[in-house]
């Protein structure tokens, strides 16, 4: 079985790779490209730990084939910060202690960033439903939701400047 050649853009960098036809995007990111920030918690699209943004939409990278990335634009957790400047969602996760073990955190960061790109002023309920595809077993979600709402406020203030 020959490998498939893929040209794509990941975190603003042009990337080329060879992948097996059955290899998921998550496995390509982790095992071929050494982008291990995206995590596998289930491999069936239920936990959201592998969440990435593909052409502006959040996707469980375990449910997408590596071959399907051809010509797409992908953002992983490694591409959320700008240089050494954290994204407000990342900064607020730290300030609110919105992580305990930190394993689900990359997926939450990516999903929350996508939420705030689409809806700069979510209600608590909107944030909870948007993030309902990301499982966290440690925090009870309280501090995560607070961090996301606080980040939204910071981003709105920044946008208003």
């Amino acid at each position: 079985m020959s490998k498939i050649h893929v040209s794509t853009v990941i975190n603003d960098d042009p990337v080329e790779y060879l992948c097996e036809p059955q290899q998921s995007l998550l496995d390509v990111l982790r095992d071929e490209l050494n982008l291990t920030g995206s995590k596998e918690g289930c491999g069936s699209g239920d936990c959201g730990a592998c969440t990435v943004i593909v052409d502006g939409r959040i996707v469980c990278s375990c449910l997408m084939l590596g071959a399907e990335a051809e010509g797409r634009k992908i953002t992983t957790v490694e591409g959320i910060a700008t240089g050494d400047k954290l994204h407000p969602v990342q900064q607020k996760f730290l300030e609110h202690a919105a992580l305990q073990c930190g394993f689900c955190t990359p997926g939450f960061i990516v999903a929350a960033k996508a939420l705030l790109d689409e809806n700069p002023n979510p209600s608590e309920e909107e944030a909870r439903y948007w993030l309902a595809g990301n499982l966290c077993r440690c925090t009870g979600y309280d501090k995560i939701v607070r961090a996301v709402l606080d980040a939204a406020e910071v981003m709105r203030a920044e946008a208003a400047e």
Binding site: T36, C42, L94, Q100, R137, C138
Partner: protein
């Protein structure tokens, strides 16, 4: 040395955790994130049968597949003898552990490991699993705890005779152990009662549900030196257990703690590590094994399913006169359910004059149970805290007042033995009574429940070392894997003792060859015990810093004081010197005696019991049976919160796991004893939209045995939720649920039955 009651600068604040940036940017390395040169991939073949004799395993076809490097079965592991080990909060046997990691002679549950393969890619390893031919003789199985206790039940172990009954049984049984303890005169107690309530409560097995599947990378060099990188709650535990199971000298294993993606007790034992080591030894390659989610559900330890029978007697004024509790816990395939702690926790919170508690540890054809957050206590308290609510209703008393009337206080001798000292249960009840939540109005179809929980917490062996760097910054190294932010607490305690900013202290988790023995992360022990070691090491560093200042000033060390990160002359007689900051002493250390560091290796005693009281409001949809959590307040005596945000997080997370246990989570088996819901779609843990904010109220009754007053906090919060939710459902919908989970079909059926 104590800091209790002192004005503290760092402890009690909320600094950003030092490992945080790596975790929000994807740089943190968890179990599956490690890659080493020449590494190959291991996969485990698992039994499709709940109970089967293994007649033959033929790996020839698998070994012929290009890319396959090794296959191992039980034949590749020493057949070790029975030997008891203390595994955190439960007793475990090394022989059982070995047979749990790789089935020998018999597969005892659906998902039991029977063989493993290592190959150059995951896809080849997966394909090779299919080529390993296992011939089974399928045997009758038993899963339900009471069916397993029956005289005619299929037996898992022919050599298992019930401990704890006289005369010694002559026939084997699935009941591994009977436990009993009593206080006073139980019959007299019930005779004195005005009201007696007797009820039966049940629970299904639930999984810890950590989001990170088990993962490791193991290397065995030609000279026998091994290294293990794995996600566990104790890399010293991994080292010790692997050495035992494989017959390796402990000094030949170096185990490192990966960042751990949740454990909740489920990573206090090993599954993949010895298999990876055996494959690595046989293949000559480093081997990585990462479980799938299905393997986690089928092959790793859930919490026990159980039957809890409770009988309570009380006077009209609510004073308890007698309590009788019987607990039957599933242990899974090998003895060792947490029925012991369950029995001790059942009545620990109450001052009951007459009591009788009996527990049964019962094997059945399910994965061997593992610890799950306060192991055994949530089951027992589900029964007792529900029954107390039923008693309160029967007596026409407020459930909070009933608890106040019977709450254990200092000086009370608990049913399980100890006499309470410095406990804060009554303080949590007082805080609940004073909380606005307790008096807030409720709407139609809404109800409020209250329940409490107790957990022992443990201390134990910990090592910490504190090094002062040349520029006056500090490193604190410990042997405790950081599962929920404990590194920041270590840095904070050390910073407080040294009088420096917390940002100047870098905490690390050292590998097993780089720090002294440290017992695993469990029992809510790390901030207490390892924190005590870190505090002690930092205090020794302060002593050393004072000596160095004395050398510089040419005065006696007794004439030096340490305050706010600086050495001061102790008084006018000591001489007039400008204060010496830590950085300056560090800079001059080569000329005053060399590097400044200290290590403390301790066996921490006096962990301090933990008590919590929860208030929960629910709304029940009478059309669907769905229960919505409207408001939740968790109150707990935490001793002293080092980093309050992470303490609150423990409460909020524990509550959420408890709510999942209450409303949704359960293992479902088919008629052949196979697990039907081994995935997060069908085993539904709470998601963000299921919950409101969770108000965490920290009550601080300092534990005098810890320099800062710390008590363990992680486990108590999972105990009250099941009963708090059930008690709220009763008040919202008029139905009493006694079988967990209280999922919509069951709630609906209860409502329909009530309507008649």
């Amino acid at each position: 040395m104590t800091f209790i009651g002192k004005d503290l600068k760092v402890v009690g604040t909320r600094p950003i955790r030092p490992d945080g940036v790596d975790k929000v940017t994807g740089r943190a390395n968890f179990g599956a994130d490690m890659t080493v040169p020449g590494m190959i991939w291991g996969k485990i073949k698992r039994s499709p049968h709940a109970h089967a004799r293994i007649l033959r395993i033929d790996a020839e076809k698998a070994l012929r597949l290009p890319g396959v490097k090794a296959v191992v079965t039980a034949a590749d592991f020493p057949n070790i003898a029975a030997e008891e080990a203390f595994a955190g909060e439960a007793i475990m046997d090394f022989r059982d552990l070995s047979r749990n990691c790789m089935a020998r002679d018999k597969a005892l549950y659906d998902g039991h490991a029977v063989a493993a393969v290592a190959a150059s890619t995951p896809a080849i390893a997966e394909a090779a699993l299919e080529l390993i031919d296992v011939e089974y003789e399928v045997l009758p199985f038993v899963i339900d705890v009471e069916k397993a206790m029956a005289a005619d039940a299929p037996l898992l172990h022919g050599e298992l005779f019930t401990q704890g009954i006289e005369p010694k049984p002559t026939a084997p049984s699935n009941i591994a152990k009977r436990i009993n303890f009593t206080k006073g005169d139980i019959e007299k107690g019930f005779r004195e009662a005005d009201v007696v309530i007797e009820r039966r409560y049940t629970t299904r097995p639930v999984h810890q549900g950590y989001i990170e599947p088990h993962a490791c990378v193991a290397t065995v060099a030609a000279d026998g030196q091994c290294s293990i990188w794995s996600s566990s709650q104790g890399h010293f535990m991994v080292r010790q257990y692997c050495a035992h199971l494989l017959g390796i000298d402990i000094a030949n294993i170096r185990a490192a703690a990966a960042e751990i993606g949740g454990g909740f007790g489920g990573k206090t034992l090993i599954y993949v590590e010895p298999v990876a080591l055996a494959l690595a030894k046989k293949s000559g390659h480093s081997v990585k094994i990462v479980m799938t989610r299905e393997e986690v559900f089928r092959g790793t330890g859930p919490a026990a399913g159980s039957v809890i029978e409770v009988k309570l007697g009380a006077k009209k004024d609510g004073r308890l006169t007698a309590a009788e509790v019987t607990l039957k816990y599933q242990a899974g395939a090998f003895p060792g359910s947490p029925v012991g702690p369950g029995c001790m926790c059942a009545l620990a919170m109450y001052d009951v004059p007459n009591a009788n508690v009996t527990g049964y540890d019962v094997v059945c054809n399910r994965p061997k149970v593992a610890a799950y957050r306060a192991p055994g206590a949530p089951n027992a308290s589900w029964g007792v805290e529900s029954c107390l609510d039923e008693l309160a209703l029967a007596l026409g008393l407020d459930p909070l007042s009933l608890r106040e009337k019977n709450a254990a206080k200092d000086g009370v001798k608990a049913v399980h033995g100890p006499t309470w000292q410095n406990i804060g249960y009554a303080e949590t009840l007082a805080a609940a009574k004073a909380h606005p939540h307790w008096r807030a109005p409720l709407g139609a179809g809404q109800g409020r429940g209250i329940a409490s929980g107790f957990w022992f917490n443990i201390g134990g062996e910990s090592t910490a070392s504190v090094h002062v760097n040349e520029d006056g910054t500090v490193v604190v190294a410990t042997g405790s894997p950081d599962i929920g932010g404990s590194r920041v607490s270590m840095a904070m305690m050390v910073a407080e003792v040294l009088g420096v900013a917390v940002e100047r202290v870098r905490p690390i988790v050292a590998d097993t060859s780089s720090i002294g023995y440290t017992f695993l992360t469990g029992g809510s022990r790390v901030t207490f015990a390892t924190g005590m070691a870190a505090t002690e090491a930092a205090s020794r560093v302060v002593d050393e810093l004072k000596k160095r200042a004395a050398v510089i000033w040419e005065i006696s060390p007794e004439a030096v004081e340490w305050r706010d990160g600086m050495a001061y002359p102790a008084g006018q007689n000591a001489g007039a010197f400008e204060p010496l900051p830590l950085a300056e002493i560090a800079f001059r250390s080569a000329r005053t005696g060399g590097p400044i560091s200290a290590e403390a290796a301790i066996n921490a005693q006096g962990p301090g019991a933990g008590f919590g009281t929860h208030i929960c409001d629910v709304e029940v949809d009478k059309e669907t049976g769905a229960v919505k959590i409207l408001r939740y307040t968790a109150i707990q005596d935490v001793g002293r919160a080092i980093h309050p945000a992470y303490v609150e997080g423990q409460l909020q997370g524990g509550v959420t796991q408890g709510v999942g246990w209450a409303l949704n989570e359960e293992y479902i088996y088919d008629k052949d004893g196979r697990l039907e819901n081994p995935g997060f779609l069908d085993y539904r843990i709470p998601v963000a939209s299921d919950l409101p904010m969770i108000d965490a109220v920290l009550v601080e009754v300092p534990n005098p045995r810890h320099p800062f007053g710390v008590r363990g906090v992680g486990e108590v919060p999972i105990i009250p939720p099941t009963a708090a939710v059930a008690n709220a459902i009763y008040r919202a919908a008029g139905v009493r649920l006694r079988d967990l989970p209280m999922s919509p079909p069951k709630v609906l059926a209860a409502i329909d039955e009530e309507k008649g």
